[in-house]
């Protein structure tokens, strides 16, 4: 393996930067900010290089030969442990058509987050706090990328937990008035999910072998995906009639659902979003929520296919509830940021509906749409939260009724807002339309969940209603005098909006580049689940 370790560099570069930043004095604000910026720019460049070298025909999912840029070493090996024998944890990173879109998304969002955090000291009134802030942001960055790249279940868990800590402090220190409550709520909710995941991991570990011949217990996800690798009388074996596979499935599903967040585990999200500072909301909505959806596809689908088939309707049903309930709550909001937060709940429902659209020999439209929707929602919601941030930074107000007629005072800003809002409710020609269309076609053609799909369609209409209502209240109508001297977008704000706007428009007109990354992986994934 003489090839350049792209994935390790991509994942651990921010962590190394964070360690280096510890030794920079807190007053040197600029060197701290530029270090962080340098790191995320390098990450984006690495991602672009990987994209150019990406082999679209390889599928991945349950076949190690289908993964690219693999890095696989033994990390911890202990021999002669009683009953278990060899205890082995691998350092195993790999990339396939499922993780690639998520990695692209993470790099972009990390870049946007750093730009948007540029004046974090001033906007949150915490002088000399840049150092701690950027160190935590960099650790967070390592955590999210690690989750998307790790193929060893144990490593995955370490990264999954690594995301929690910096997030807790970022919300708790730099957040709004109720930040403490929001931070601890976020933490406890996610941690409750994490321990369920941990139990399932240990159960799987004690049951799975590397291969039927080579009887060494393993944390390797790919080995767990083959039912033949399980010890026949173990708790996770399909052959054992008294197995606990359903419980493990449930534990993992709840753990991941909390992150998405799926009804009824969604209540941490509005609190966390409203209290978090803008860049952190961007990362939270843009990347962290995707970890849940990604983990369901990466882990639950191939390891527990029979449970997924059995509970497909219920998963779709939860998706439907998310769509309609999220939109319904968004309709009632008076706070701009809370509205966006609930719209996130609604849009993540589409993802779940899409990935539940499975049929034997059916199309991969739903799955592909679901993953594409994760990517699109990541970019669009990032824009929406940035939009709230811009207006909040200038006026320190967020209520929908506090504004009116801003389109006259801030024309460029209004242009961006209009684009983002239209993208959010899926206007044809913009990125979300493509993914939502795919999800609906996929879900509608799956007979068992057709009714749910029809109900979910209400969500789209409601989406248009709350988005347009917000647009109208804030930007249309009579301009208010108190906002006459509001500045339009600054250069820094252009730098964060323009790339996202370009992505939204390009993938709306020509989504092929993204789709061809996923194509073969999604086919394999569907086969793995519906075999």
């Amino acid at each position: 393996m003489s090839q350049f370790p792209y994935l390790s560099v991509l994942t651990f570069l921010p962590l190394i930067a964070a360690l280096a930043l510890i030794f920079v004095p807190a007053e040197k604000k600029n060197s701290i900010r530029y270090t962080a910026l340098g790191v995320v720019i390098i990450q984006v460049l690495i991602t672009v290089v990987m994209w150019m070298n990406f082999n679209f025909s390889l599928a991945g999912i349950n076949d190690i030969n289908g993964y690219q840029f693999i890095e696989k070493f033994d990390w911890i090996v202990l021999t002669g442990i009683p009953l278990i024998g060899t205890f082995k944890i691998e350092y195993f990173l790999g990339l396939d058509g499922l993780s690639m879109p998520m990695v692209i998304l993470s790099s972009i969002i990390a870049f946007i987050a750093v730009i948007s955090s540029w004046n974090i000291e001033d906007s949150t009134h915490k002088p000399n706090s840049s150092k701690g802030y950027f160190i935590l942001l960099m650790i967070l960055n390592t955590g999210t990328l690690g989750v998307f790249l790790a193929l060893d279940f144990f490593m995955f868990y370490i990264f999954w937990e690594l995301v929690l800590l910096p997030m807790y402090f970022l919300i708790g220190i730099w957040g709004g008035p109720r930040r403490e409550y929001a931070a601890i709520k976020f933490f406890i909710y996610t941690l409750a999910g994490s321990v369920l995941i941990l139990l399932a991991i240990i159960g799987l570990y004690l049951s799975a072998y590397e291969s039927p011949e080579f009887k060494v217990h393993t944390f390797n996800m790919l080995n767990m995906m083959d039912a033949a690798n399980f010890k026949p009388d173990s708790v996770m074996s399909v052959l054992n009639p008294g197995n606990f596979r359903f419980l493990a499935f449930l534990g993992l599903f709840i753990g991941f659902a909390i992150k998405i967040p799926l009804f009824p585990f969604h209540t941490w999200l509005p609190d966390a979003h409203v209290e978090a500072p803008t860049p952190i909301s961007v990362v939270l909505a843009g990347v962290l929520l995707k970890m849940g959806g990604y983990a369901i596809l990466r882990i639950i689908y191939p390891i527990f296919p029979e449970q997924v088939q059995e509970w497909m309707w219920w998963i779709a049903c939860l998706g439907m509830i998310n769509i309609v309930y999220g939109a319904y709550c968004a309709l009632g909001q008076k706070d701009f940021k809370k509205l966006i937060a609930y719209s996130s709940v609604s849009h993540m429902g589409f993802v779940v509906l899409g990935i539940a659209a499975l049929a034997k020999g059916g199309s991969t439209l739903g799955l592909t749409g679901g993953v594409l929707q994760m990517f699109n929602h990541g970019t669009v919601t990032a824009m929406l939260f940035l939009i709230v941030g811009v207006i909040y930074e200038r006026t320190h107000k967020r209520g929908l009724d506090d504004f009116g007629g801003l389109s006259v005072q801030m024309p460029m800003y209004t242009g961006i807002v209009t684009l983002a809002f239209f993208a959010a409710f899926g206007l044809p020609g913009l990125s979300s339309f493509v993914s939502e269309l795919m999800i609906f076609i996929g879900a509608f053609s799956t007979e068992s969940i057709r009714t749910l799909t029809i109900i979910s369609a209400i969500g789209i209409v409601m989406g248009a209603v709350y988005m347009l209502r917000a647009l109208q209240k804030i930007f249309l109508g009579k301009p208010r005098e108190e906002y006459n001297d509001l500045k339009d977008l600054t250069l820094r704000e252009y730098i964060m909006f323009v790339p996202l706007a370009i992505i939204v428009i390009i993938f709306g007109i020509y989504p092929t580049p993204m789709l061809e990354i996923m194509n073969s992986s999604m086919t394999t994934l569907l086969d793995a689940v519906m075999k």
């Binding site: 442990i81 278990i84 601890i184 941690l191 139990l199 240990i202």
Partner: protein, 497 residues
């Protein structure tokens, strides 16, 4: 042959002899001139250091041959004893550092020698406990540890709370030791011997003999009191709050290591050998199901009560009850992996608890308070101290990437392997609850504004080094864990488990 056995027998207690020797030296130093008495901490430290070296050298004894000792010996020096003795001595070394920085203890000038004499007696008791292989010797060792502890808890005699702590500890302690002695007599009655070796299988006999079950429960009560296992824990919070910080640290860390050592040896001896290897516990009434019960209530009561504490020492007291619940859980598995988890857990428990208590001690010497509400905004006033506190708290909460996670992980693995799912669910539940109160401390440190603007004295380089020596290993072990588990496995394999 006879002669070598005798010599071997004597050599089992060599670290103890060293401690006794230095104990006498300290007594004489204390009654001589002040100039000499001032050197006591130094002598105390070198005594323990010497004991560690000797313990390590004589650990070679059990590397060479399998079982040179009579299994009925009242003290044994096997790998199991060695690893616990090593932990006891190493933690005692750190304890001396604590004593030197505990201003409450130091404010009683002229009683310094007395304090170290008490401390040395406790160390002696702990070493004996780790080796004890007979109910009677275990009982005597327990008393050697307990009696000086009562005095040490009341060391601040001008402080009512300290005296209260001492008295409460004494009352509970004597009751527990009486009950335990009664239990021992019941076991003696039905088994005919007090040696651990003769207990084999009594914990799993079906149908159980009433005498044996009562005896077992009473003895568990006696040991449970020492490690503050619920429902024998009532002394702990008051004693921990009333005692000086350094004594609290000692009682909640070092003395528990020794308590767990003898408790584990006792439980192991009473399980039948087949059960040890199988790790399957579907037998009805046996010592393991009793322990599962104790484990669940211990962790639940400890963690839930900790939520409502505002005094840091009290909070850590309850949290340590929660941790004991986890250790008892590992013990309840009765499997080899459970055994492996115990020293592992204790080692990490020691590191993180010492760290947390040291932070409390250092903060107390600056703001003169142990109340969590006075910790507001300290994250900005004492950045280094607070960052270390974050590491210790995250580790205590058992989250990656710290060593605390591995400690918990091993216990979870052992539990799952023994198929004790109820225990697993309880443990999971408790992990989440524990996070809540550990993070409340971090929240106070970082998220709340300080009431006063006063500038606090900065830490000395020595303090920083010791804190880093406790904290950095937690991070390193969190990423690369093999050494600890290798050590635990090596020593336990030799012990014949």
């Amino acid at each position: 042959m006879e002669m070598t056995n005798q010599l071997n027998y004597l050599s089992t207690l060599i670290p103890e002899y060293i401690i006794i020797f230095f104990l006498m030296v300290i007594v004489f130093m204390d009654i001589s001139k002040e100039k000499i008495a001032a050197k006591i901490p130094l002598v105390a430290m070198s005594g323990i250091f010497l004991a560690i070296i000797v313990a390590v050298i004589f650990s070679g004894n059990f590397y060479s041959t399998e079982k040179i000792l009579d299994p009925n010996a009242i003290f044994v020096n096997d790998g199991f004893a060695f690893i616990f003795k090593f932990m006891v001595l190493a933690s005692s070394l750190i304890m001396i550092y604590f004593f030197r920085h505990d201003e409450e203890v130091n404010s009683y000038k002229g009683r310094k020698g007395e304090f170290y004499i008490l401390f040395y007696s406790m160390v002696l008791g702990m070493l004996l406990l780790a080796s004890a292989n007979d109910l009677i010797s275990a009982y005597v060792a327990l008393e050697v540890l307990s009696l000086p502890s009562y005095v040490a808890a009341g060391f601040l005699k001008r402080d009512n709370r300290s005296s209260e702590a001492s008295l409460k500890y004494l009352l509970f302690g004597s009751a527990a030791s009486g009950v335990m002695l009664f239990g021992i007599s019941l076991i003696m009655l039905s088994v005919g011997s007090t040696s651990f070796a003769s207990l084999t299988g009594i914990g799993t006999v079906i149908p159980a003999d009433v005498l044996v079950v009562m005896g077992l429960l009473f003895i568990i009560g006696g040991f449970g009191y020492k490690i503050s296992m619920v429902p024998f824990h009532f002394w702990a919070p008051d004693v921990f709050e009333g005692s000086p910080v350094s004594v609290t640290t000692f009682l909640s860390v070092s003395s528990k290591i020794a308590g767990v050592a003898v408790f584990a040896r006792f439980v192991l001896s009473s399980i039948s050998p087949e059960l040890q290897t199988a790790g399957i516990l579907d037998l009805g009434m046996n010592i393991n199901s009793i322990l599962v019960f104790f484990s669940i209530i211990t962790m639940t009561v400890g963690n839930f009560t900790a939520i409502f504490q505002t005094n840091m020492k009290r909070l850590l007291a309850y949290s340590s009850i929660g941790h004991i619940g986890f250790i008892v859980a590992a013990l309840a598995c009765g499997s080899e992996n459970g055994m492996l988890a115990i020293p592992t857990y204790l080692l990490i428990y020691t590191l993180m608890n010492f760290g947390a208590f040291l932070v409390i001690l250092l903060i107390k010497s600056r703001i003169n308070s142990e109340d969590i509400r006075d910790y507001k905004g300290l994250g900005y006033k004492m950045p280094f101290l607070s960052v270390m506190m974050v590491i210790f708290m995250v580790s205590l909460a058992g989250l990656p990437p710290t060593a605390g996670f591995w400690a918990k992980f091993y216990v979870f693995t052992a539990i799952m392997e023994s198929k004790l799912y109820l225990l697993a669910i309880a443990a999971i539940f408790n992990t989440v609850v524990a996070v809540f109160y550990y993070f409340r401390i971090l929240k106070t440190l970082y998220f709340e504004k300080s009431d006063s603007e006063e500038v606090l004295p900065i830490l000395s380089t020595g303090n920083k080094t010791v804190l880093a020596l406790l904290g950095v290993p937690l991070l390193i072990l969190g990423i690369y864990f093999s050494p600890v588990i290798e050590l635990a496995r090596e020593t336990l394999k030799i012990a014949g488990f």
